[in-house]
Subunit: 437 residues, 2 copies
């Protein structure tokens, strides 16, 4: 892999998400050589993917080139590669660009979409876990209306203008809200040839309420906000099948739709080579309170892919960016302590609260002591997300897009950029550096 | 095609580029029903494609959703479709979504890359005429360096870090300059593992000087600016072949490169159904001084695809956005005149000048009376391009990106977004609404 051999222990971090990026930043590179590997050359700010999907933000504003983050760091090496296998006997990892040995390995590969074994759903639904997927969803949504114009078949038109979102967590709720705003603000003007009132947005949730992990008050308010925006909510409902045209559920209701968006769940995305006995609930890797994998004393897992069972968290921590960030920083401190022969400390999650935005002036925020909803919550949501975005340029551009949307009730980036033409698609495959997911 | 039949003559415009967009805007929709057809749902500001390709701008800032432009226009219909054939006997056009009849037809399909019959070049080189192509080029450029890190083969590394641009017109010159800035400002910090001094940028031009259509002074200055930025310029040189690894020329010099960027020429992109006798030099459609196609009294061609031979322009007008815009506006006026039974006027091109930017503070401008180069020219270039961009949001975002690049010597959008993963690529093809080019 062409990493220089120097006289420092080598820490390999797999994944440049919230956890991996924080760890790589904070770890002391006077004591460690750090190699960060990702299959993309950018960090994705996942909480805003839904805004890319609904034409609110450019993909480039919520992604950040990883190399730029580390431009002044010595003893740091980024590598664009896909990790195929971990070999802990040989103490190396295998990638599509060869093997590389480690002294310490950190798995921060995050989560992937969980279809709960529903093969047809997996084949026909659209997930939204990556920049590419959210761009694809954006094009799909806009294309549906372009197609609907041509259709003389009422059933087909209905399917094209029906949007079914599965999963009433923050992603599903935020996406439903943003789609409802598209319907209200943008689509009637964009498509005078269509009766946009026919557009339906359905949100399906298996639990009895949306935003189930949040306070009941926030949940009720979010439900109310969604209703106000015209979203149809189906709680206590589970999707059982989807053939690309018809969604069936365990209830009495079925949906005819061309677009099923799957935001119903995620599971850990561990890498091959980790023993099955070390994989727990939700496909996450079992770790101790130092994020160390049980029985492997120099291999760690962080964030969504890690399952740390403590008294307070018998099922592990919630799969949230906040947990990932804190674990990344914490492990950096621990490794820096070890380098100075100090003791490692146990990880404690500080729950600073959760929030979700439904639309303009409509959000819900649960802090430790305060819970509030509406305009102020929406303002707090925007501020926190702007601050968390990586990169000053990104912050400004997102801010301008939000201000623009707010003032003009517009969403500016509604380009259909697929399909890549045949020629380029073919070339892509020829030139493929790695098969990204 | 589901266009309402109303009691007004129908004008179909094929192509939402500079010419088609202006015409569609200015034509009086009290007198005409207007149908604008494009294979993309957005207008592309082609002069800035090279900045997308070199990580300076987001694709979304130089493209503009066509529907948004016309949101307040009555009797206007946009259709996302590909026109397959023009049938002037039956007075209709054939698209991938059915046929549609016209009273007046306007072909504003612009230009496509001209490889001058070099099949291998066409197969292996990268053109830069569309948003998709420029995004693909961006990823390719960045991927080359990611790959170069892994290479132990000096020849391969050389090929990956050699960039050969063919064509010393504005596109080639601006792209070479922007690549040189990437080399100077961004890549050494991004790739500390590589010796970026090994990166070479070659600009090949068949004519004796770059920017041949501009004044000699501007040409000499541009040459000087490029040299200053480290670009190798090969004038009086023509590419004869390229197998994906080796570029051969008619001179003594050959180039080993993985990346040949083709900006050497364009030709008209007419649509099937126009008689071969009506196609002239550069694959452009022969039109009279009203932009009417010879012998077809209700079919017009505008912009790059039109060849209007007059005393002053025996070979037609230059293939520039300025000509296209003026012809679009002019035809709108003529059609509006006809509706009021007034006379049509002949088109006269007002040459307001040409300009090209090479890098920060480095540009050349030829106006009618004044020719100037350097900082002021660069400032004028920026101002003019900002003003020409469609959409206020786009103007602000481009301005911020430019200000950011200027102050920080940075280019912010260096994401590798290809390849789309196999699953999505497959889906794309299944869902393909049209095969775009």
């Amino acid at each position: 892999m062409n990493i220089p051999d120097i006289d420092l222990p080598r820490v390999i971090i797999i994944g440049g998400g919230f956890a991996g990026l924080r760890l790589a930043k904070k770890i002391n590179k006077k004591h460690y050589q750090v190699v960060l590997i990702d299959k993309n050359n950018y960090h994705t700010f996942q909480p805003l993917l839904y805004q890319v999907a609904t034409s609110g933000l450019e993909p480039d504003s919520i992604a950040y080139p990883i190399r730029r983050t580390f431009k002044d760091h010595d003893n740091f090496h980024f590598r664009l590669a896909e990790v195929k296998h971990i070999n802990h006997t040989k103490q190396h990892i295998e990638t599509n660009f060869g093997n590389i040995s480690f002294d310490t390995l950190v798995i921060a590969t995050g989560a992937k979409t969980n279809f709960f074994g529903l093969i047809n759903v997996e084949h026909n639904a659209i997930p939204m876990k990556s920049l590419i997927e959210s761009l694809d969803l954006r094009s799909k949504i806009l294309q549906n209306f372009e197609k609907a114009i041509y259709s003389n078949d009422i059933k087909e038109q209905e399917r094209l203008m029906n949007f079914v979102i599965v999963g009433g967590g923050p992603t599903g709720v935020e996406l439903a809200g943003a789609l409802a705003e598209l319907k209200k603000q943008v689509l009637p003007e964009d498509f005078p040839d269509l009766d946009i009132r026919k557009m339906k947005i359905h949100l399906i949730e298996a639990a009895p309420r949306v935003l189930a992990p949040m306070s009941e008050n926030s949940s009720v308010k979010a439900h109310h906000f969604l209703k106000k925006l015209g979203v149809h909510i189906w709680t206590n409902t589970q999707v059982t099948d989807y053939d690309g045209k018809l969604v069936t559920t365990n209830g009495k209701i079925n949906f005819h739709t061309d677009t099923l968006i799957w935001a119903a769940g995620v599971e850990g995305a561990p890498i091959k080579g980790i023993d099955a006995t070390k994989i727990g609930r939700g496909n996450r890797i079992l770790v101790d309170e130092y994020n160390q994998i049980d029985g492997l004393n120099n291999i760690y897992a962080l964030g969504d892919v890690a399952l740390m069972r403590t008294k307070e968290t018998p099922n592990g921590h919630p799969m949230l960016g906040a947990v990932a960030m804190q674990q990344g920083v914490h492990l950096a401190k621990n490794l820096n302590n070890v380098a100075k022969s100090n003791k490692k400390k146990c990880f404690k999650y500080k729950d600073k609260g959760t929030m979700a935005t439904i639309g303009k002036n409509l959000a819900v925020v649960d802090l430790h002591r305060f819970k509030f909803q509406g305009f102020f919550a929406w303002f707090v949501w925007m501020f926190v997300h702007l601050m968390l975005l990586v990169g000053f340029r990104n912050k400004i551009i997102v801010f301008i897009n939000w201000a623009w949307s707010y003032i003009r009730s517009d969403k500016g980036t509604r380009l259909i950029v697929r399909p890549y033409n045949d020629r380029i698609s073919k070339k892509e495959h020829d030139n493929t550096l790695h098969k990204s997911a």
